[in-house]
């Protein structure tokens, strides 16, 4: 497995990585998947500074991952909800959780459980071959650069 050099701008890993690898963003998404929707709730649940929260929510809205929507409670409020694009990040968060469960779990175990709503089964994340169905690790996958690397 030789060293493969790939232009950053063209890689479909590095683009999301640049976005999600920004401080707070992953935590913010975790909260969103847990059902947090309002500015104040994000702020208190994550203990993030208000100015940074404003900015992060803004970029996630710009990126189309969250949608800012006004609604009427007792008065007009705003909520940030996951768009389809945002909901589609679920496998990323689940993969992260699986890994965290295995490698960074505190002694008491995870702080919440996830189960299939209808049958109660555990949630699994699998990397598998679409052809033969085999479970895949990094070693089972061949990388083929599609464009010439710029060096």
């Amino acid at each position: 497995m030789a060293h493969v050099k790939v232009a950053d701008e063209l890689c479909t890993v590095s683009l999301p990585a640049a976005l999600l690898g920004e401080r707070w963003t992953l935590l913010l998404l975790r909260q969103a998947f847990l059902g947090t929707r309002r500015f104040e709730d994000f702020q208190t649940s994550m203990d993030i500074s208000r100015s940074v929260l404003t900015e992060r929510l803004g970029t996630l809205v710009e990126e189309g991952i969250l949608r800012r929507e006004a609604y009427k409670d007792v008065r007009t409020r705003y909520e940030y909800r996951l768009t389809e694009k945002g909901l589609d990040l679920y496998p990323v968060l689940m993969a992260l959780r699986k890994w965290g469960d295995r490698w960074m779990s505190p002694a008491e175990g995870p702080s919440f459980d996830l189960h299939h709503r209808t049958c109660g089964g555990d949630v699994g994340v699998h990397v598998a071959c679409e052809g033969c169905g085999a479970e895949l690790t990094a070693r089972d996958v061949r990388v083929t650069p599609l464009r010439d690397s710029p060096a």
Copy 2:
């Protein structure tokens, strides 16, 4: 889906999120999975400053995700290799790539392809119920807090 508040320190998503959601870390891991191993190669392929690279490699080694190893080329060199813990992050990176392919793909498409080494099939990432096998989205999953939230 009510707002679920969970202590940050206890969550198996937020711990890895804090680590991977640090600038450069995800990109560094991407490079590692592509086969990059040496300090110089990381530096030039990601265009990261040397001081920050030193620090990031250091924390990943501390966390047991990379292992720093001396080896003899024409002289003694060092390489940073993924440990088992590191290799186990593969599903996270694959989930990220799948998402990037769908939502952030540049016009020319991804810059490299991945295929099952033995059968040539595409690589898939799936969140599925371990019980009934159904493919799951965020909406199909019930969240159950295991410890009392501190507020």
